[in-house]
């Protein structure tokens, strides 16, 4: 078989995808400095779009929600993933089957996850109804329509979706810990808990950091899950930045402000990814010097 010239194989797709990202990022950034409303318009308004977005109640709530959702989702997903990984690491029977089952949610679209959980959590048709029908008539599980608790339904669904992914990465990490280390710790007299806490988990933390960062950027980008599960409600209780962007751009016809909100999201993302990249760089330098 004749091989395609490498220019075609590497550079064309790279230029297409990079160009796509760069061009639209640049375009959005430009739009955020223009007075665009329903249609893109040229002109220069400085930071006016930014100040007005930052001043809206919508954005403030969305950002507060993001902090809560991001922290809850990232920490709990990693924790659940770690527990699943440790349990699966006990050389149990049927590990492959279980691993696939835990990973399946990752293959499901966020919209599907959101829709299914919206049914499950709907007090009128979901878990509450089931328990009530089974005879536990005082059972209440109505977070979905509770302003204070609704954000946790998003966390719950997102954990369900992503913890298998965290588990897969962490399990690979656990398996890569050298067997001799565990033997040495056994001879040193460490019990299973101490072996995990002092020997295995410390060896795992580069993977934990990677998992945290990947999950955090999931969290910042979250849109479809919320859209399908709560639509941002009740009221603004589960509003997230991506929904604000969508709201400005396509519901209210304020492309300038929507773009400003999108750029703010990008900056948040960079706030996570740049320190991570710097950390990776330092690590690689240190490894190269060692």
């Amino acid at each position: 078989m004749r091989r395609l010239p490498e220019v075609l194989v590497i550079w064309v797709p790279l230029l297409l995808s990079a160009g796509h990202v760069v061009v639209f990022t640049a375009w959005t950034t430009w739009m955020s400095f223009t007075p665009s409303t329903l249609m893109p318009a040229s002109g220069w308004v400085g930071l006016r779009n930014y100040t007005s977005v930052l001043a809206t109640r919508n954005w403030k709530i969305a950002f507060d929600n993001l902090l809560l959702f991001g922290a809850g989702f990232v920490v709990l997903t990693t924790l659940v993933g770690l527990i699943l990984a440790i349990l699966l690491d006990q050389r149990i029977r049927g590990e492959n089957v279980l691993r696939s089952i835990f990973l399946y949610p990752m293959a499901v679209s966020f919209v599907v996850t959101g829709t299914v959980w919206s049914w499950l959590l709907n007090p009128g048709i979901g878990i509450q109804k089931l328990m009530n029908d089974l005879g536990w008539t005082t059972f209440r599980f109505d977070w979905l329509i509770d302003r204070d608790m609704a954000i946790w339904t998003i966390v719950l669904a997102a954990i369900w979706q992503a913890s298998g992914f965290a588990m897969a990465l962490l399990l690979a990490g656990l398996r890569s810990v050298e067997g001799d280390l565990i033997k040495a710790a056994q001879i040193d007299g460490a019990g299973p808990a101490r072996i995990y806490l002092r020997v295995i988990l410390p060896a795992l933390w580069p993977i934990v950091i990677s998992v945290l960062v990947i999950l955090l950027q999931f969290a910042i980008k979250t849109f479809d899950l919320v859209r399908a599960l709560t639509g941002g409600g009740p009221g603004l209780a589960t509003q997230l930045p991506a929904l604000v962007v969508y709201d400005f751009m396509f519901q209210r016809g304020q492309i300038g402000r929507g773009s400003a909100a999108a750029v703010l999201m990008l900056l948040t993302l960079l706030g996570v990814l740049l320190p991570y990249a710097a950390w990776k760089y330092v690590q690689r330098r240190r490894a190269a010097n060692a």
Partner: protein, 367 residues
Amino acid sequence: MAALVIRDVNKRFGPVDVLQGINLEIGSGEFTVLVGPSGCGKSTLLNIIAGLEKQTSGSVEIDGRAVNDVPPRDRDIAMVFQSYALYPSMTVRQNITFGMECRNVPRAERDAAVARVSHLLQIEPLLNRKPGQLSGGQRQRVAMGRALVRDPKLFLFDEPLSNLDAKLRVEMRMEIKQLHQRIHSTMVYVTHDQIEAMTMATRIAVMHHGLVQQFADPETVYNRPANLFVARFMGAPPMNTLPARLVAAGSGVNAVVGTGDEQVVLPLPPEMAGFAGREVILGLRPECIAEERRRFGEDVEPLMVEAPVVMTEPTGAETVVLLVLGGERVLGRLSPDVRLRPGERGRFSLDMRRACLFDPKTETLIG
């Protein structure tokens, strides 16, 4: 008194018998080396001694106490691993004291122990570093330190030098031997390197196919190998093994190797006269075949043979020569100033006093 007794130990992984009826009795203060090719079961045996694996049947006693159901931490052992197995997130000091930490030894006692061991191994400047910042030799020392700090009844070494380069390996080999001479602990050392086994051991257990082929001091293993496997495995270059017929000659006996023009007749020591008439495998160490002028003792009349040279391998200290004797290829070790070319016929001096005879069917040593 026996520090370690292994009795009828079997280990089976599914359909594979990894160990078949291992019996060893190791005295206090002995340096025992388990040696054999990969897959012979030596590491499995070590893991069973350590309690990291459970034997299918049989028993292990450490210092007179049966430890079959005792977990590794309560067996009073220390182990050094091939990969060193240093905890990467801990400093050297923490690595060394982790065992004491697990046993809740008071801090003052831990510090004293670290001071003693780090002085012994000269790793004081490394105590606050992490394993990732150490060279291979330094890691090796720290791994030794972690074992030594415990003052256990039994030291186990699992190929601890295999990951070092050749020069460092020789240095560490000598250091471990000196260490043993100084602290007189009981040590069990696993290696596939027969030179390590010969140089360090007080007794060698040669293993193959899950069986102990021979368990004896290095000199016996080398000079009187129990069977053909041991003869060919120990020693580099290995022992020459040639099929031979034993023919009575007067009161003595001759080994006849080859037929027709290639036939060579080698007179054997008189104590082997009883084997006349048998077919055997004749074993002769390469150092028993030397250049013409070599004498193997003042009152020994050397046996001279003429043989064609196939190849020479100068190593500097000596020259290994591949020659044909009675149609069989054999190796000899010559003084480096003797220069023979491939294709030439040379005269060689043979030392038949150290010949071994093996039964061709059972492959065991008979004389």
